[in-house]
Symmetry: C2
Subunit: 481 residues, 2 copies
Amino acid sequence: MTRRAGDSRLSCRPIRGTILSASRVLSALHELLGSRGLLPAEAVEERYRVDVLGQRGEAPLSVMRPADTPQLSAALALCHAAGVPVVTQGGRTGLAQGQLPQAGEIVLSTERMTAIEEIDADAATATVQAGVPLQRLQERVEPDGLMFPLDLGARGSCTLGGNIATNAGGNRVLRYGMTRELVLGLEVVLADGSVLDGCKPLLKNNTGPDLKQLFIGSEGTLGVVTRAVLRLFPLPADRAVALCAVEDFECVKALLRHVRGVLAGELTSFEVMWDSYYRRAVPLLGRPAPIAPGRAFHVLIEASGADPALLAAGVERMLAGAIEQQIVADAVLAKSGAEIAELWRVRDLAIEASRQLDPIVPFDISVPIARMGRFVTEMQAATRAVDARCDVLVFGHLADGNLHVAVHAPPDRPDSFHAIERAVYGLVGRHGGAVSPEHGIGWLKRAYLGHSRSPAEIAVMRQLKAALDPRNILNPGRILR
Amino acid sequence: MTRRAGDSRLSCRPIRGTILSASRVLSALHELLGSRGLLPAEAVEERYRVDVLGQRGEAPLSVMRPADTPQLSAALALCHAAGVPVVTQGGRTGLAQGQLPQAGEIVLSTERMTAIEEIDADAATATVQAGVPLQRLQERVEPDGLMFPLDLGARGSCTLGGNIATNAGGNRVLRYGMTRELVLGLEVVLADGSVLDGCKPLLKNNTGPDLKQLFIGSEGTLGVVTRAVLRLFPLPADRAVALCAVEDFECVKALLRHVRGVLAGELTSFEVMWDSYYRRAVPLLGRPAPIAPGRAFHVLIEASGADPALLAAGVERMLAGAIEQQIVADAVLAKSGAEIAELWRVRDLAIEASRQLDPIVPFDISVPIARMGRFVTEMQAATRAVDARCDVLVFGHLADGNLHVAVHAPPDRPDSFHAIERAVYGLVGRHGGAVSPEHGIGWLKRAYLGHSRSPAEIAVMRQLKAALDPRNILNPGRILR
């Protein structure tokens, strides 16, 4: 950093020096971005400070809202030169607190970069700016008979830039993959403001390391996603849904294998509910259970395809084979859209079913499928070792290895919360799982990163951070302490 | 690097210093790896120096063949400490000359690391060592009703480590993706010998940047792939194949869209032959053409699935719709395995058809589908501007954006070879394509990297190389000069 003559006294007063240089940066940013593009501290609304769970960050120095990539690039170059840290925000729907401002940070919001620049229906690609809400892209391509398959509860407010930065998962990963697999090209602005324009709509491009992969899922710590070319898929004409009761975990695994073989590319969902979940969810339906509780597992299977008749024939064939091979004890097949909605409602009651165990410690984890049965048994034992009254409810996207877990923590023992977390994340680590399959690390799970990543892996993460963001201005402190 | 007292004289004679320290490294490597694990220069067979096209590298200092990851790690640590460069070899089937030894390099061969460690049929994963030949894994999982979908001509000798390091593509990318999409977990040894053990069989793992992506497709320049967890898929029971004649490129794009919509997850191939290819290939069949030449394009479409009857119904429905919408002028559907083989033979005559234009300049490139029609027209004009006798033959995996091109270069003008290369790669760059969709950059295409990557992208590649391989010992000079 070059120091000007007038600054010489500040060199021994680093704190005041930072404040002064930050105020200079703010006026330079104001000149660059104008009043619409730079909100002063006093005009920063509450929404820039809170997440959907009500967690609250610090008051930021200001909010910058560049109109396009050149503005964003110039703004970051200013922050980089002055060493002022920046926290990037898309729709602020992240669940790992990475988007909450920390003291001394400027919020960088992509909320004015909202153009869907191009839909190429023949190539099945969309070129978008980072601030486009997910649902807007979904709705924009539907009339063309196309689908952007990423889908999650926050679809109305989460942004595509945020989805990419966090490698969002969601409801259709089994068939279409995580966000990473939906990104063909990416434009990223680096910490120093330089623009990596990799917005090519190419499925095949083996010309050196695939740089975009560095920025997908690194939660804004290595660069700011500004534009992307995304893959689109044909909108399936129809779907078929079945619910199966299964006696033990070996049969659940056999069913997954059978379903994959028969439905192949049409399999969209394979949701497994442990009885601990199912018997709490069905009474909330307000009507008779599609299958009475009592079996160890209930599995919801969905297939989607272009031809309703062929699709139905495939799912019926799958069910017949599963019953004949005695891997399924009982099954129902939805006969209408209303019945499909009813079957899905069992799975969609997740929040209500979990609440019956309040107060709970919630987990979103992944574990290798081969170890999953044992993992759940050991988790029950490990949490009961913390307190004999702990009770565990489990369901998840089994084919993805992804489990949602709610552990009842006795209300008279608030200290048990962290003990339960340590017990479960410790088991996840020992079984080679991931402490965060979908939501990222952010601030929330930094303490548990070592359960999923080795010291050698964390050392490389630090090397990458030092190489690409040497002044540590991009989302500092997220992922790595 | 620490220097011992006895070495002090060498510090001003770097060349002799390197030779001496290399000989010390070789004796330390011999101690570490034994006679089976370290071949001295005089015992290095020709096969370690040549590629399948007959290109020949320099004589290496030796060939090291570690038995496992710990040995490989210790060997690399020794090379790193001494600054001795290493070139990693799998099956040596690469087409970009990256595997050919350069002067002063030690060959690191994975040919003794050939264990298929585990097949998990329920989770549909395989854990393998880097030296396993692709075909051995394919054949190992078939009896379990599973498939490792990567497939390419070199299957018998190429290794999975090499496939991963180069992000191999091949025949089934449209349905299953490039190698990158088939890798769940990866173990990599870094230049200094440290081991990144990321061998988790997880589809979902958002715990910091996805480090394995750095090593997939970076051609061994950032680390050495030693083990991997790979995705398997159900082996399709049957396939259906059709050949369609199409009048213009707009209809080819419409056909792709139509086929994607109807066949969705069952579409496996969409191979487009320009008439310049088709009219040269069909006379080589030795029997009547399935469709007589004359139309501008012929498209070979394959679908595969679990149920032969449903599959055939889907393909028939697709063809009926395409003919009704007048995007297809003529079509034939294979009625047996023999007819399927016959239709594929038109496409598999690629080498023979191209030879009719000998001498040729061959290209493997990708171009955005939206620009492909114009690209081919401009390429014809650009090569004819080099020499009026230039003639262009085109075919390719259109849905992947991947084109194979052969340009006739007049034999009396050998100077035209490079002029044709410059003309075609220049057009690829201007149309936002890739100069190497599949085979990588290696040594062969370094001069053209700038047509596919911007200066900012190349600068980041250099930063990554400097951070992860500061002494430049891993495949030095490949990709980046």
